[in-house]
């Protein structure tokens, strides 16, 4: 039941981090988005036995954690969602790939173990990279960057609206399930008899809200188009930041 409350807490927490007035937070969102994607691409393109190369890529999250003054512990919690699948897939590598490639003392080290470790490191890096992006950049700014990348306005607007109402509806769902559990103290979840009614009520309310939002929009001159304004241009320091990292990634990739 607490999932809803946790989600709300998480959103507020991320937002608080993104709102900090810091060097990394002030960088242009497009630069940060592009860098995150490049980092992920480069990281994932390392071969499955290339542990050294992967380890060296760790420089990016480490630097950002320190410079951005972001708590490493908070980000660890986010691993719990991704790691199960990655582990499930990765754990079989030592079983199926038993070629011995060396010894630590007398313990044989197999290729499967190596590839399992690289897979897990990849999983961890990807979560950290996404966390570093969202902890220093608000969703609105990411959406702005998406607009700059010519993602259709309809889609970006839709993301913004969803984000705006996620908290409203999470709170509503939270109230409903709390009211439910107060009167059904011994149940872990929602009993199947009220599956439809509970979620359905929430759905109808959401639809009514959507109607009201629409009315509020039309009353203020909305005719099917949202207008966005160009905010900040990329500054020299943004380009420099992007350039330095890209160069570093290139070096790490080529020499790795």
């Amino acid at each position: 039941m607490n999932k809803l409350g946790n989600a709300l807490y998480e959103i507020h927490h991320m937002d608080m981090l993104a709102a900090k007035d810091q060097w990394v937070n002030r960088l242009h969102p497009l630069v940060k988005l592009v860098l995150t994607i490049v980092f992920l691409t480069v990281t994932m393109s390392f071969q499955k036995y290339d542990l050294t190369g992967l380890l060296r890529m760790g420089i990016y999250p480490i630097v950002l954690f320190i410079v951005g003054e972001i708590s490493f512990c908070d980000s660890i919690r986010r691993l719990r969602i991704v790691l199960p699948l990655v582990c499930f897939v990765g754990l079989f590598n030592p079983i199926f790939d038993r070629q011995v490639i060396g010894y630590i003392g007398t313990v044989p080290l197999t290729a499967g173990m190596l590839s399992m470790v690289t897979l897990m490191i990849k999983g961890i890096y990807s979560v950290l990279a996404a966390y570093l992006l969202i902890a220093t950049t608000s969703i609105e700014k990411i959406c702005y960057a998406l607009r700059l990348l010519h993602i259709p306005a309809i889609l970006v607007t839709q993301v913004l609206l969803t984000y705006r109402y996620v908290t409203v509806l999470l709170e509503e769902a939270n109230r409903m399930t709390q009211a439910y559990s107060l009167r059904a103290p011994n149940q872990k979840g929602v009993h199947f008899k009220v599956w439809g009614t509970l979620a359905g009520q929430l759905l109808l309310r959401s639809m009514d809200r959507a109607n009201e939002v629409y009315e509020s929009m039309t009353l203020r001159g909305y005719r099917g188009e949202f207008y966005y304004t160009a905010k900040e241009p990329c500054k020299a320091k943004d380009w420099l930041y992007l350039g330095v990292w890209l160069a570093l990634f290139a070096v790490l990739k080529v020499t790795g």
Partner: protein, 330 residues
């Protein structure tokens, strides 16, 4: 079932981005053509609804566990496939950013595995054909369950395919699939039931909200056309993925090896243990496969790791220095 970044090779991720992007572009065009200004706020709020509703735990009778709502199928019944698809993209993007559910790189895969199957197949294969001659409670339940089960099966299969094409795991494809499919059959059933319950509630309370077949049937394409388009899409993806895999150093060849290795296994092998042994034999037969120059790699590894560690330590020091001086200045 969210695909993780770590399980996709960049080439596979890019391919899936292109596929999902294509469908998204098409959907944007379709939604624009409908030129219903109300659609945008409705999509936004419904996206938030799916987000919230997926976090409600629904107890599964007779077990201690709980199920969740299937967003794609439900949205497609309410908004039609195009708007539903775009809405799901929004939901998946926010989930991936805020909750690390899936990843930025794997987003293209996730959109395909969850939004595309749920919204488009769910609509064109089940919802629309079944609702063509009027709605009824039974048909809503049937369409929801069938839709959820089939789209989830396809989604799970795609996860396995994408992982295979990425050449990331030694887990035989057949074993992966054999684990994924039954689990998702159960999940699909439960999700289908929950979705059916919600749609039934809407049907009783406000039937006009459900996307009705008659008004849409005229301009939308036919079943045959849909199948044809899907077939082409499958071919394109298949081709692109295998291309991607073959450009991957230990890509296609490797996957085929594993695939054939494990299919043989299914014929004569008995269980995971046998599978493991068989594979080991295979690898023994092909000593040069997969791990070229293993000795030298391992040798360089140690010095490499040591070198990297030094660099990292220097780097950490520099960062702290940067932070220190930054603080001092301000």
């Amino acid at each position: 079932m969210h695909m993780a970044d770590a399980l996709v090779a960049p080439a596979v991720a890019a391919t899936m981005y292109v596929c999902s992007g294509g469908v998204a572009g098409f959907s944007v065009k379709k939604v624009r053509l409908e030129s219903d200004p109300k659609k945008i706020p409705v999509m936004g709020v419904m996206g938030a609804f799916v987000f919230a509703a997926q976090m409600i735990n629904f107890t599964i009778p007779g077990t201690g566990s709980s199920g969740h709502l299937c967003g794609g199928m439900m949205l497609t019944a309410l908004l039609g496939p195009y708007a539903a698809f775009l809405t799901m993209i929004g939901v998946l993007l926010i989930q991936c950013l805020l909750f690390a559910d899936g990843g930025l790189l794997a987003l293209g895969c996730n959109i395909w595995n969850m939004a595309f199957y749920g919204c488009f197949l769910g609509y064109f294969l089940f919802w629309r054909p079944m609702m063509k001659k009027g709605m009824s409670r039974g048909k809503i339940v049937g369409a929801s369950i069938l839709g959820c089960v089939v789209t989830l099966q396809l989604g799970a299969f795609s996860v396995a395919l994408e992982t295979l094409a990425s050449g990331i795991t030694d887990l035989p494809f057949s074993v992966f699939v054999a684990t994924m499919q039954p689990i998702h059959l159960v999940i699909g059933l439960v999700e289908g039931l929950i979705t059916a319950a919600v749609l039934l509630f809407v049907y009783e309370a406000r039937p006009e909200m459900l996307s009705c077949s008659e008004e849409r049937a005229k301009s939308r394409f036919s079943f045959k056309k849909t199948i044809a388009i899907l077939g082409i899409a499958a071919l394109v993806i298949g081709g692109a993925v295998s291309l991607a895999a073959s450009s991957n150093p230990d890509g296609l060849e490797w996957s085929m090896e594993r695939l054939t290795g494990s299919t043989e296994l299914e014929n004569d092998g008995t269980g995971a243990h046998a599978a493991a042994e068989e594979i080991q034999e295979k690898t023994a037969l092909l000593p040069d496969y997969g791990f070229k120059n293993s000795d030298s790699t391992f040798g360089t590894s140690f010095s490499g790791i040591a070198g990297s560690a030094v660099v990292l330590i220097v780097c950490v020091g520099a960062c702290y220095a940067f932070r220190f001086f930054k603080k001092k200045k301000s």
